[in-house]
Each structure stands twice: as structure tokens, then as C-alpha cells.
């Protein structure tokens, strides 16, 4: 398969162990060109480890990883030129300014450093006015933007964002989202891990869920939401309940006089209302749509 036809990322049975602990277990995945793929999972699910195996920060113990058809071990020079990584932890070299950092990173990636390209990138990320400041003097948000600029400086075709908006303010998060969408529209394939489910819900074309190192679901975002589509009814009661009425669906939550219950179909709703009425009067009632968070929780806490 030529690199023109090959998918940006193809994983086959990837395994990574740390001693007896299996961080990534038999993960197979194919990511298509020009999509934003969100990798979700709770802390310790193996998201960062999987990305590390692909980007060269660590080596998988088994399986094959191909980037645009090239093997990440045998053809590492090719694959690393194609890949950009925004790591989870903000890093910066206190010896160099943002402009110098970008020039250096461009050179390390094997591309002749190009001042005009670097300056354009500095402008895109609103860092141009600080181009000659020492990096340690930048604000947290600026350091985070510099991190993204560094990952893009060699024009990668596949971009990994590992928790890109952890700990950043709303405005910067929106800016980064807009940038990610722009990159996708220009043809860059983006894989992001995130704790912010709204980020995946808003940005991603497809979603993969990792649980204990296993990839348990890979699906179009819409299909995933549809498949788990369920409504929730929120009931205001005339008194506080101390225990859930018998026969309620799993996932019901009780908080003082508010009872929230997921359900499917009108039969399900009738059952709920009947069960509740035996214990309390319903004062008010409203419906909620499923959120990705609910789907996510049901997936990662499932059997």
C-alpha cells in the first residue's frame, strides 16, 4: 500500500506492559484521513501510553503500528516527520525564546528552519509579540499555545493532542478548538485524548473508548450517541425519598426531592411514574437528552 492510500494510523494488536501491569491490551484501530478522532477513557486507561507507543516516546511490546503505511519502528524517520505531538505536560526550555524554540524544533524534525514560517506560526498562536521573551516569562496559556505551535512547526499530517486543554481557561480552550477544526479542514488528521467530554462531543467525528488498556468501543460520534440514546426524566417530588422506588431503571439518581431516572420508550416512562407515585406526589417533571458523559459512564463502568 502506498503512503498516498494508506490510512494515517493503523494499529494491529498493540500491547504495552510495565512489569505485570498491562497498560495497553491488544488494541487494533484504523483512523481515517481528515477526521478528528477522540480517544476517551478514565485516568490510567492507557490513552497516553498508546500515544507514546505511536509517537516514539516508548516502544510497544507487541503488535504493529503504521503511520501512513510506514512502520513506526522500522521507518521511524518517516513516521516521525508525519506526526506532531502536543504532550500532556507543558514543557519549555528556559534557555530559549519562543522563536528560538520553534526554529530548533523545526530543525530537529529534519526540516531546514524557516524564519518566515515560524513567525507566521507565532502570529497564529498570538505569540508574535512575545517572540523574543524568555519562555519562562510566558503565562501558562502562552506556554500551552507554544506547545501546540511546536507540534505543528514541521507541518505534520497526523496530529496528537494529549489532553490539550487540561487546566486552561475557557477562552483559550475555544481558540484551540477552533484551531483544531481549521487543521482538520485543511486535511490534517487529529487524534485527541481528553477528560472534557464536551470537547469530544463538540469536535470529534469518531470516538474510541479505552478501559483498562482495552479499546472497548470505536464508533461515529452520532452513531454512538444514537445507540445509547436514552432520555432522562427529572422528577420534582413533594417529599424527600430515602430510598429509590422498586423497579426503577439502573442509573437512577436521588438528590433530596429530585429524582433523575433514565428510560427508553413510553412503556419505560409509565413504569417509572407508577413506581414513584406509590411513594410520593410528582410536583414537576421535565426531560433531558442523553449527554456523551452518560454514554461514557455507562461504557467505562460497564461489566
Amino acid at each position: 500500500m502506498s503512503s498516498d492510500e494508506a490510512p494515517p494510523l493503523e494499529l494491529q494488536g498493540v500491547v504495552k506492559r510495565y512489569g505485570d501491569f498491562i497498560a495497553v491490551s491488544e488494541v487494533s484501530l484504523r483512523v481515517e484521513r481528515g477526521e478528528i478522532f477522540a480517544l476517551l477513557g478514565p485516568n490510567g486507561a492507557g490513552k497516553t501510553t498508546l500515544i507514546s507507543c505511536i509517537t516514539g516516546l516508548t516502544r510497544a511490546d507487541a503488535g504493529s503500528i503504521r503511520v501512513f503505511g510506514a512502520d513506526v519502528l522500522n521507518d521511524f524517520r518517516q513516521t516521525r516527520r508525519d506526526v506532531g505531538l502536543v504532550p500532556q505536560e507543558v514543557n519549555f526550555d528556559p534557555f530559549f525564546t519562543p522563536r528560538e524554540s520553534l526554529m530548533i524544533q523545526m530543525g530537529l524534525m529534519g526540516t531546514e528552519p524557516d524564519r518566515a514560517h515560524v513567525d507566521a506560526l507565532l502570529r497564529t498562536f498570538a505569540l508574535y509579540d512575545h517572540r523574543d521573551a524568555y519562555t519562562r516569562a510566558l503565562s501558562g496559556g502562552m506556554k500551552r499555545r507554544l506547545l501546540v505551535a511546536k507540534a505543528l512547526v514541521h507541518r505534520p499530517r497526523l496530529l496528537f493532542l494529549d489532553e490539550p486543554t487540561a487546566g486552561v481557561d475557557v477562552e483559550l480552550r475555544q481558540d484551540l478548538w477552533a484551531e483544531v477544526v481549521r487543521l482538520r479542514d485543511e486535511g490534517t488528521t487529529v487524534i485527541l485524548t481528553t477528560h472534557y467530554l464536551e470537547e469530544a462531543e463538540e469536535l470529534s467525528d469518531r470516538i474510541g473508548v479505552l478501559r483498562s488498556g482495552e479499546l472497548i468501543v470505536v464508533e461515529d460520534r452520532e452513531a454512538l450517541m444514537d445507540r445509547h440514546r436514552a432520555h432522562r426524566v427529572v422528577l420534582q417530588l413533594d417529599r424527600a425519598l430515602t430510598a429509590l422506588p422498586d423497579g426503577l431503571y439502573p442509573g437512577a439518581e436521588i438528590a433530596n426531592r429530585t429524582l433523575t431516572v433514565p428510560f427508553q420508550g413510553t412503556d419505560g416512562l409509565q413504569t417509572i411514574l407508577s413506581a414513584v407515585k406509590q411513594q410520593a406526589e410528582i410536583v414537576d417533571l421535565r426531560f433531558e437528552e442523553t449527554r456523551l458523559e452518560d454514554v461514557f459512564m455507562s461504557l467505562v463502568s460497564g461489566p
Binding site: 530548533i104 530537529l108 511546536k150
Partner: protein
């Protein structure tokens, strides 16, 4: 091969120590010059000649070697360890650079800083005794192989270290004893037989005597033997350092 990447990494390392030249270049020059003033000028006048050379001249190659060893080691070890601590080693690890290229860049920067400081120490010494280099080729052969050894050793230690304490252990408990007992300030022939024999297991002994042969034409040991031993040591340490870089886990904390 990633020639642009290797060149960039080397350039980055050179700029790193050039930017803080007061600390990386001038400070060792002051320290070594003080050694020279105390041991060479003040005490040297009261000491006999060694192998026909006045003590003040005899001590110069040892002091130059002392400066080159510590600076070559400190350059690679502190730079690489700092990049582990601040997380920027990731930038290098995701780049299309092989372990040999990374090692080449770090060791070359160490070789350059070692020679920059060594040259300045030598220049200061010439103010007192005039310039003297008996054999430039031997001199440069030893200065080169020694800075390669300690540049690679610095990489090895930085990849092994998990905290700053680990990094300080080596200069304090390994380098300083080895250099002071390696004949920097004396000829090992002046020691009792037992200690003279023990000294021959110290690699710094061959380094100091090699440079002394190049600069002054005298040595406690055949310089070809010294160079042979140091070349084997260099290959061994380079091999270890390359393996350590290839094991990417050692480049991150």
C-alpha cells in the same frame, strides 16, 4: 540520516552553554587558574623539578586535563538531565533522530566546551611560563579522546539519574578523587610502589600522562599504550551511552 536534526541539536547545545558563558566557561577558568596560582606559582617555586621540568610547568597539562574532564562531563550530563526534568527531552524523542545522532550531538558539544575551557586555561598558564607544546598531534589526540569519553559518560550518568542528587554524586565521589589521584599534581613515580601500581588502574592517570607527553614530552607511561587504553574505554562508554539513549524510558523522568 537526519543531518539537519543532528546539526540543530548540536547547535542548540552549543548555544545553551554559550548563553551562560559566565557559568560554563569563565567560572571553570577562574577555578583552574587559582589551582595554577596556588600549586604552580606559590608552592611550585619550593619544589624540585620533575623529570627535568620545573613544577610550575609540570602541573599545566594536569590542570588543563582537569578542566577538560569536568567541563566535558558537566556539559552533557547537566543539559540532558535538565531536559529530562523540564520535559523537553520529549521534543528530541519525537524527532526523527536515531540514538547515534543524539549521542553525537551531545558528545560533540562536550568536546567543544572541554576544548574551549582547556584552551583558555592553557592560555592563562602561558602568561606565566610561555607557550610550550612539544607535539600537537599527541596533544590533540588525547584532548579529543578524553572529552569524548567524559561527554559520553555525562550522557550515561544523565540517563541513569533520577534526581539532581544522583547527578552530583559522580563529580563529587568519582571525578574529583580520580582526577586528584590520577597524577594531576604529581608524578605517580613519586608514590610508594603500592600506590603507584594502584594508580595505573585509574584511567585519569593515562589521560594526564598522555597530555603531559603531548605538551612537555614526558610521561610515566608509554603514550601509545595510554591512547590505546583510552580508545577502548571511549568505545565502551559510547556503546553504553548509545544503548541508554535507545532505551527511551531513560530519557524521561
Amino acid at each position: 540520516m537526519n543531518a539537519v536534526g543532528t546539526r540543530t541539536l548540536l547547535g542548540k547545545e552549543i548555544r545553551r552553554f554559550s548563553k551562560v558563558w559566565l557559568q560554563t566557561v569563565l567560572s571553570p577558568l577562574v577555578t583552574t587558574s587559582l589551582y595554577f596560582l596556588v600549586f604552580g606559582v606559590a608552592l611550585g617555586a619550593r619544589l624540585d623539578r620533575i623529570d627535568g621540568v620545573p613544577y610550575i610547568e609540570y602541573v599545566i597539562p594536569g590542570l588543563v586535563m582537569l578542566a577538560m574532564i569536568s567541563n566535558a562531563f558537566l556539559n552533557s550530563s547537566s543539559s540532558l538531565f535538565q531536559s529530562k526534568v523540564n520535559g523537553t527531552s520529549v521534543d528530541m524523542m519525537v524527532a526523527p533522530l536515531g540514538p547515534s545522532e543524539i549521542l553525537f550531538a551531545y558528545v560533540s558539544a562536550s568536546v567543544l566546551r572541554g576544548h574551549a575551557v582547556g584552551l583558555m586555561v592553557w592560555l592563562v598558564a602561558t602568561l606565566f611560563v610561555g607557550p610550550r607544546v612539544e607535539n600537537l598531534l599527541w596533544t590533540l589526540s588525547f584532548s579529543f579522546v578524553v572529552t569524548v569519553i567524559f561527554g559520553a559518560f555525562g550522557v550515561l550518568v544523565a540517563t541513569w539519574a533520577q534526581k539532581f542528587d544522583h547527578l552530583a554524586v559522580v563529580p563529587n565521589f568519582v571525578l574529583t578523587p580520580l582526577t586528584f589521584l590520577g597524577g594531576v599534581f604529581y608524578s605517580v613515580d613519586m608514590l610508594p610502589d603500592l600506590w603507584s601500581t594502584v594508580s595505573r588502574f585509574n584511567p585519569v592517570f593515562y589521560m594526564v600522562n598522555g597530555l603531559r607527553f603531548g605538551m612537555l614530552g614526558i610521561s610515566d607511561v608509554n603514550p601509545a599504550l595510554s591512547l590505546g587504553i583510552l580508545l577502548v574505554l571511549a568505545l565502551f562508554i559510547l556503546w553504553g551511552a548509545k544503548r541508554s539513549i535507545a532505551d527511551g524510558a531513560r530519557l524521561r523522568l
